[in-house]
């Protein structure tokens, strides 16, 4: 319905990447992966950051639909609301690739993601196994209401179902934030001095927990994170973090751009691309750590 950018054709396709937030190294990696691939393919990538707000993202998507972009890669702030937010893009007939988080029932060219529920399950099992299936643990939740929080929570519950002797003594949010986790875990260790494990919904919070635990981290209290960030891997190598569920954000970004450039060219693309989620612990850390 709108003027597609013919001016952009010379340097290849013009594509918008709508990211949920760039305040988190995970998404910075995702963007870097996407940017590198875009440069390699001659795609003109414009990145917009919703700062974790669905409505801001909806605004950015509406703008993308009219600003001459030929396709939209979306890392949704929230699965549920992405559908409505994407409506103008659908109306403009632009191909859509969803990355990291699903976008409800919107008709899209492709979905590239790692499975948060499965990852949550893996994380819970890794922690439970290291505790020989018994003991008190603390769960650190992400931003209340965010889909990653809900899905990983679901995964945790599934994973712990097989370990009746693991007791969750406290579930508290630290909003995916390292500094907040530091205070929350410090406080929780006061009320639960005998806790033996911390199950965190991302690496940032796991690192905050480690900071709070001090010398106890990795020894008296095991910590498991999620994401596989650089700092997370380093902590695994140091032995303070038992395990992290490594997503491969660079790969997510890279694949999404590849798929998009095909879709723009009118080629058929695979509708569902799974990027592997791995449990990274002391055994396989060597394969992941950069230094």
């Amino acid at each position: 319905a709108c003027n597609r950018g013919t001016d952009a054709a010379a340097d290849g396709a013009q594509v918008t990447l709508a990211v949920s937030t760039l305040n988190n190294p995970f998404f910075v990696d995702l963007r870097d992966g996407a940017q590198a691939e875009a440069d390699a393919l001659g795609v003109k990538l414009s990145v917009v950051d919703a700062q974790n707000d669905s409505a801001t993202q909806a605004n950015q998507l509406a703008t993308a639909a009219t600003n001459g972009a030929q396709g939209v890669i979306i890392n949704a702030v929230d699965t549920e609301t992405a559908e409505a937010g994407l409506a103008p893009v659908v109306k403009a007939n632009l191909p859509i690739v969803a990355v990291d988080r699903s976008v409800g029932n919107t008709k899209i060219a492709s979905f590239v993601a790692s499975d948060n529920v499965a990852g949550g399950e893996q994380a819970a099992k890794a922690l439970a196994d290291s505790l020989d299936g018994k003991g008190k643990i603390i769960v650190l939740e992400g931003v209340p209401g965010a889909s990653a929080t809900n899905e990983r929570g679901e995964g945790f519950t599934k994973g712990l179902a097989g370990y009746p002797d693991i007791k969750v003594v406290s579930k508290q949010t630290a909003n995916f934030d390292r500094a907040e986790a530091l205070d929350v875990v410090t406080n929780l260790m006061q009320s639960n001095p005998d806790a033996a494990g911390v199950l965190a919904m991302n690496d940032e919070m796991a690192l905050g927990a480690i900071q709070a635990l001090g010398a106890k981290a990795g020894k008296d209290v095991k910590v498991v994170g999620f994401d596989g960030t650089e700092d997370g891997f380093k902590a695994v190598k140091d032995g303070t973090l038992l395990a992290t569920i490594a997503q491969n954000p660079e790969e997510l970004g890279k694949q999404s751009v590849q798929l998009m450039s095909k879709a723009v060219a009118g080629e058929e693309v695979e509708s569902n691309v799974q990027v592997a989620v791995d449990t990274v612990d002391s055994k396989n850390i060597a394969e992941y750590a950069k230094n």
Binding site: V48, Q60, D78, E80, T81, V143, P144, G145
Partner: protein, 322 residues
Amino acid sequence: MSSTAIAPKKGFDVKAFLANNGALVGLVVLCLALFIATPRFLTGPNLLNIGIQVSTIAVMAYGMTFVIVAAGIDLSVGSVAALSAMASSYWITTAGLPDALSIPVGLAVGAACGWVTGAMSAYGKLPTFISSLAMLTVVRGLTLVISDGRPISTGASVSWLGGDLGVVPVPIIILVVSGLIAAFVLNRTVIGKNAFAVGGNTEAARLSGIPVKRVLVTVFVISGVFAALSGMILAGRLDSAQPTLASGYELDAIAAVVIGGASLSGGVGRISGTLIGALVLAVIRNGLNLLSVSAFWQQVVIGAVIAIAVGFDVLRRKNVRH
């Protein structure tokens, strides 16, 4: 000696025009710059986008204008928007009650929140910064409690708020209509004039027989209702009420009001100014997206443009006061 000894000059007075339209000049300059920078800015669809995008903050800021004119501040609007949207969706989707009532229910929730904030300040004597900060937290907590942290789908009528009426997006219609109503109430009714008096000099207002406490409660109820409307528009656009909806929007709403020329010390403010303030914010964001400015630098630029836009407004004041 005549009581009106000093006759004002007639004819078009540039200074006077600037005096009343400082932020407007900022907005026009901003639009011109964007028009030169990218041809995509001044297209029909993009202008419609801006209209839709500005609606949530502007509607919220209309209500905030009343509070600020009365020398208060309402930090709870983002949370109230979320709770109202959540309640109106819960009403139909979870509780299965009639959809026709879901918008009234949302508005009533907003009014009730505003009433509590206002009453804490009027009768409990808390500074409005504190009463509304407390409500910001409490109301967000309640939103999480009733939604259990999960989004709830909106009913048909709330979704309609985010849809189109013929070719015109409903949010834009609400933006205009509720703006006219707000301006009317603020300038033509006793409620509005009382807000100005209370904000301008509370003691003088009280000694003139104006019911200061009731005025304070009223402006917060108005703010709550506008916040609720704004929250439902937002939920309607997303077809879903989110527990994190509109969080942090309070600063944008306040900024819109202040960019529009209101004073946080009360007694001054206009709905048209507030709309311009909200437009300044929406146009900057839209323009930076159009120009593909990197996300990190966007924040730097947004901050700078806010300062500059208000700077224009300051220029006007220099021309007028001494």
